[in-house]
Symmetry: C2
Subunit: 498 residues, 2 copies
């Protein structure tokens, strides 16, 4: 049965075990792997490589689409198998290794990795490890629940290892739209003018002679953790929906809004869920990830079409989608991440981008990646691809956390991922700050008034007022700009009187 998925007869003798595949890697190699927000990742070869590295030390550079599931990043990091990792990760063990300086991490816009590889601004990929649903008779491969950078890896890698995952229904073929822009200097128009446009082929082209091993697997993706909306996320969602309603009333937007992008997580989930009982209709998405809420919105008749690079959903939703794929087939598409996240399309389609901040400051600069300017959490992911080219760029965070010992609005962010120039709307559970058309001093007032937790309002106003006394377009007291972060480290709270 499994062999039927390999439609190139001559590749049948390439079938090996994961352990055998793991032996194909050499120290210092650059490895490109499928996997985007835990979807469509390597289920057995990379874990087998981690096992091998425990007894037979070697280090690789690992490039993926985005995050991997099944703790694979942690296993590789723990085995000391990673020298360098890009462009994204969400693994606790790997994160600690990165922050300890044991693994080098490149925190990259998700649209850019493929570009950098094609432009030879990164070293060539030695081996690609790609999960596929099948190998077609022309040697091309059918991706699974994500496309990520797999088309780029397939094109550029010297050798390819395929994981044929028999747990993926063959009916998945056709939900992918594989298109790669021409290499420079011959690049032409990418002809997408609406989220539903399909412009490519159903499978990823692959030169079968590069295949050095095929491994069978039968394991699903790590399920997404779905957090039910809580008081804070519900409040944030309410503020955003209210804002959209106002924009519709003002005639700035129609009830279909513009194509939506939402980062992963609780807040995005709460906002999208909020649309179900709203007056908005004929919505579309042009995003990175299709989450549970995407399919809930389709089922509710609210969402007409959703374009992304992966499907990352709960176990329940996974069954719903793959047991009834015909219900969704014409309403979704998965694209390479250098298409789903490419600047020109995001600008052309006029995306409303909703992403999560770790903290933002009184002038609207956003930190999405670092705690106290130094330790990385996950990475910028696609938030920059979308925020900087969006029609409307919205960032959300809770106003305070850890028993309100941490304020997520600070005098100056300790790391900047999205500059004041690129941020339109900031939202916390306390309210929404509309920064459009505001100068820095105006922004500070609106942010302090609308977004800050009451425990920190006076303290932040005090900073701002004293900074204004010294003057400036963007008034700051450099000697105090990070005093909140330093207080947190030394006293466990950002509150000043502690």
């Amino acid at each position: 049965m499994a062999y039927e998925r390999i439609k190139v007869q001559s590749l049948h003798d390439k079938v090996i075990t994961a352990e055998e595949a793991a032996k194909l890697f050499q120290n210092g190699m650059v490895v490109g792997s499928s996997g985007f927000t835990k979807a469509g990742d390597s289920k057995v070869v990379l874990p087998a490589l981690a096992e091998r590295a425990k007894v037979d030390p070697l280090k690789i550079t690992l490039i993926t689409g985005a995050s991997l599931g099944h703790g694979t990043d942690g296993k590789l990091a723990e085995a000391g198998a990673l020298s360098k990792r890009m462009p994204f990760q969400v693994d606790r063990i790997l994160r600690n290794k990165i922050n300890a300086g044991d693994v080098l991490f490149i925190d990259q816009h998700l649209s850019e990795t493929a570009e950098l590889l094609h432009n030879k601004n990164l070293p060539q990929v030695d081996i690609a490890v790609l999960e596929v649903a099948a190998i077609e008779s022309d040697g091309s491969i059918v991706p699974t629940t994500s496309v990520g950078n797999s088309a780029t890896f397939a094109a550029l890698a010297k050798q390819v290892i395929l994981e044929v995952n028999t747990a993926i229904p063959m009916t998945i073929k056709g939900i992918h739209d594989i298109y790669q822009a021409e290499d420079y200097p011959r690049r032409n128009v990418i002809p997408i003018v609406a989220p539903e446009n399909k412009i490519g082929r159903k499978t990823i082209p692959l030169d079968a002679s590069k295949v050095v091993g095929i491994v069978f697997t039968n394991e699903l993706d790590s399920p997404a953790d779905i957090a039910e909306p809580d008081t804070k996320t519900t409040a944030i969602a309410k503020h955003i929906l209210q804002f959209f309603e106002n924009e519709v009333e003002l005639g700035h937007l129609s009830e279909s809004l513009m194509p939506l992008q939402a980062g992963i997580g609780k807040v995005a989930n709460a906002v999208l869920t909020g649309f179900i009982h709203s007056k908005f209709r004929n919505l579309t998405m042009f995003s990175e990830v299709l989450q549970d809420s995407t399919f809930d919105l389709i089922d509710a008749g609210k969402l007409d079409f959703a374009s992304a690079s992966s499907i990352t959903v709960s176990e329940e939703c996974y069954s719903r989608v793959f047991d009834h794929l015909d219900r969704y087939r014409d309403k979704i598409v998965l694209r390479p991440q250098n298409i789903s996240n490419t600047p020109g399309l995001i600008k052309r389609l006029g995306i409303i981008a909703i992403n999560t901040a770790i903290e933002f400051d009184i002038y609207g600069n956003v930190n999405s990646t670092h705690t106290s300017g130094t330790n990385i959490m996950n990475g910028i992911g696609g938030s920059g691809d979308f925020a900087r080219n969006a029609y409307l760029s919205i960032f959300v965070t809770q106003a305070a956390s850890k028993g309100d010992a941490i304020s997520h609005i600070v005098p100056m962010v300790s790391h900047v991922d999205h500059t004041e120039h690129d941020v339109d709307i900031l939202v916390t559970d306390y309210g929404l700050a509309d920064l459009r058309g505001l100068a820095p001093r105006e922004r500070a007032k609106v942010i302090i008034e609308n977004c800050v937790h009451p425990d920190y309002r006076e303290q932040l106003s005090d900073y701002y007022n004293r900074a204004c006394e010294r003057g400036g377009h963007t008034p700051h007291l450099l000697e105090e700009a990070f005093s909140w972060h330093i207080n947190l480290r030394e006293k466990g709270t950002m509150k000043k009187d502690h």
Copy 2:
């Protein structure tokens, strides 16, 4: 003679004096004005408005293409006539007013102002003041030395005042390519695939019934200050040309490179001048501004085509261009700035972007706008439009200045305009740091080794090493991150032992 430039007979009785035009403004109005890097600005109406405001106080919001010439921004600021200004300025008097908090300034990507106006994310323009070479019989207008945001202002303003500048030769008609993308949600592909593609019309459409006044002028643009290359800028240019030569040798680029964008100023001038005696050939530009060096490169047979939004040149070059326009007519084009700077085109064409930094830090974050995090210099201009979507993003600055009391490489930049995610190459007179494929800790070493002035190398290494002891993906000591800037303020130098 002058009236011949107004080919709509019924508009002849709209001719008024600048002083009469100045009376058409009311307190609180939003004014949109032509002018981009001092080219094609209002020569008499805005100065007359400044005069009026001295005796008859009123305040306006002034939106332009970019900077104005003839000290007009300073005159308006000094007269108290500006409440808000966007998206760019370079005027000493206005800058002081902004930093004192007397004028509100929005520091905006130059591609975005028109977008924000079309999307109704900014208030409607009440009056547009546009310099033109002529008014055509269909009411459309011929721009002069810049296009800037004039097509947007003409389309959206309630009323229009035209300055017909008889100093501009009528032969200028035809060097402009006026194209505006459709408003959302009907936006289509902008069909430019090479710098030389012309896709629009020669003149800006205008509803003649909106014209409330026409004023004749006969004055040229403020000439560009051309600084001859000095030791530092020559060194920077040498490092960049060497880098390009290496990339050609490695087969990453051809001898035509990719379309070039260069910010205004000494360094860009030195780099472009450096191409004249290089082996590079058939170069193209897709930039904001055509400078003296652009025309020198065309004359030297090195540059095949240059696209931008304005011509800002010295007096000598101005005569050369306009006395021999036929020599250049097929080699240049001026576009609206929301086309010259639009993200999708910059990505599609694969631009090599060279822009100037005020300072950068050991991890590659760039500050283009603020001194000591607080006072603005000019603004981000188009540097972000290009840097974040470029094929290669290069930033340059001198390593140290003011008798080496200021190091332009610091532990942490005091304001971030371009994040670590968007910067590929950093260059000073001491050398070039190639950050492609490097993690933060690798970047720090390469930057300190290659770019920093010798007086600061040890001091910066010391900061970095002590930060690494505390750990982190991007090691920082928040309590010391701005100590160099604070030292400068308190002791007049960033050197630690002072």
